[in-house]
Subunit: 316 residues, 2 copies
């Protein structure tokens, strides 16, 4: 059963995408199967993994969230057609193609005896529709649902759709038995996309820049989480608070860190991510820092953070 | 005639608010009358000027954008009542009260002969309704229209209102003869609030962090500006690109800066804002860095940036 973690903080530039990419990659390197969902119209998680502009025939997260189920049958038919699979050369690492490992054998999708009710679409119940949107990445066991600018349109279109806050939850639920972790990168706002991430998630990971504006925004974030828990997702809880881009030389950094540990207590990870230029350079090479420069201080901090998160996760 | 400048970049954490606050304050210190409009539900420009939680009876930018004109008459009646003016003790610098300098003399507002049509509200045409939302700040000649969390609701409510992209433009146009500069701080997204800022503005100031994700977002921002120019605001143009939090020691910073100067040419300011902790500390004291620590490298960089902007502005 996958754990779904939303990486969320409406304050801009606190390291949400950097954390989502490097945590997902570090967990995959540690042997877990991971899906990263880019839920930000900026598409930084997509380009940070070298997949800018890439997507399956069914489309990006925009189509996945805005199409109704009937639309999806049309999409499902297209992508089952072999030559519309993502072109093998454009995939950095073809053998990590999720279809090869996590997809049930193609024949079994269409065998009628599995389905008592013959006229219902056989592929409807075996193959979660989200699979039509999943791309492989250059990291083994790490898959991605990409996003691009069009996702900004979803904020407006979702408003008039039924169950507008549950669209992402409905998309990801059926994937729980295919991945051990599903990580969602949120945009810098508390709009409908972030709301969808908070409803779909079991836990929220809060990257925090130790500065005044970032600290100020926490009250709004915690308030929003409380409202989501009350009405849409009763089991939502904080996975943890990760201090990022920490500049321990400054008083401000130390003072804010002290305030945060006082408020969130043991939820604040021991691992603190230092400011390290390799973390900022890695995205321009389309790679997570943990593979771009595994020995850098930034990458090592994300490895130790992933180990800390796994220790909490695996503890009975 | 005021120049209206939107400080915009959908990439989070690039220094929009820090630039909006310190430019507005530096221009005010240089003798210009300035209004800062906080158009971000995070309300960082409001708290960065020590006005967190403060607003006039009429409310914050949320009410200013979502109320229709008839609602405003009710608001206008309330705020003309003396004891609902902001409490003098809570104003750090009472004599910068915008009412004292920029308001027409109170008697002339109600003199009937100015208005040929007696039954129309006299205050409707002389006193711009935006005045009911304006707060003074601790910096002389600098006024503020505050924002808070409620502004996030406007993104959804504005969708169903007529002329949803022009609400901010309609609010600010009548203020042009009261201020020399109107500076708008935008949120980290390309939603309706940023759209309103781009429609209301004459010019766009783009703070840019010299890193990969920030560079990537520029194409989306320029694309959005082109669409706004084509359909809603034909004279919109770039005021300039300001390189912020620059770490000239890293290759990444130098490489991105070179790319940006190649693309935007003379639009990139000579002044580059260095990373300087005093800029991050100032908001926790409710002051712009240019008054909190005028001799710091960060403050001096914003003074020289303001001088460069004024030189371009005043050039015939
Ligand atoms: N620990 C770090 N050291 C140095 N640079 C970092 C670090 N973490 C992130 N960065 C860089 O800082 C910038 C902001 O980080 P990032 O884009 O991950 O934040 P974000 O919260 O996802 O931003 P947004 O709010 O726009 O989604 C990026 O250019 C990133 O490369
Ligand atoms: N030149 C600088 N040196 C050091 N710190 C800075 C500098 N400019 C901004 N900061 C700090 O970096 C953080 C991000 O800056 P700021 O909040 O102004 O960016 P923003 O673009 O307005 O963010 P958002 O996208 O959330 O609105 C803040 O904590 C701010 O205090
Ligand atoms: Mg991001
Ligand atoms: Mg801001």
């Amino acid at each position: 059963m996958a754990k779904i973690i939303a990486v969320t903080n409406q304050k801009g530039g606190v390291g949400k995408t950097t954390t989502a990419i490097n945590l997902a990659a570090a967990l995959a390197i540690a042997g877990r199967t991971v899906l990263l969902v880019d839920c930000d119209p900026q598409g930084n998680a997509t380009s940070g993994l070298g997949q800018k502009g890439e997507h399956r025939d069914a489309g990006t997260l925009y189509e996945a969230l805005t199409q109704t189920d009937t639309d999806d049958h049309r999409a499902a038919d297209d992508t089952d057609n072999a030559d519309s699979q993502p072109n093998a050369d454009s995939q950095p690492n073809a053998h990590s193609q999720p279809n090869a490992h996590s997809q049930p054998n193609a024949d079994s999708q269409f065998s009628a005896e599995l389905k008592p009710n013959a006229d219902s679409r056989p592929d409807e119940q075996v193959e979660p529709r989200a699979n039509h949107y999943i791309l492989p990445t250059s990291v083994e066991r790490l898959s991605l649902i990409p996003a691009n600018r069009e996702l900004a349109g979803a904020e407006i279109e979702l408003i008039s759709l039924p169950d507008r806050e549950r669209r992402l939850q409905r998309l990801l639920e059926p994937l729980r038995n295919q991945f051990e972790f599903i990580i969602i990168d949120s945009p810098p706002s508390l709009g409908l996309l972030t709301l969808n991430a908070l409803v779909a998630a079991d836990r929220v990971l809060i990257p925090l820049h130790c500065e005044y504006f970032a600290l100020e925004g926490l009250a709004d974030l915690v308030g929003t989480m409380r409202r989501v828990r009350a009405s849409l997702n009763p089991t939502l809880d904080i996975e943890g608070v990760l201090l990022t881009m920490n500049d321990e030389r400054t008083n401000l950094g130390q003072q804010v860190a002290r305030d945060v540990r006082e408020f969130f207590k043991e939820k604040v990870y021991q691992t603190v991510i230092p400011r390290n230029v390799r973390l900022a350079e890695a995205p321009s090479h389309g790679l997570p820092a943990v593979t771009y420069d595994a020995k850098s201080r930034g990458a090592e901090a994300y490895f130790s953070f992933a180990a800390e998160l796994l220790a909490n996760h695996d503890r009975p």
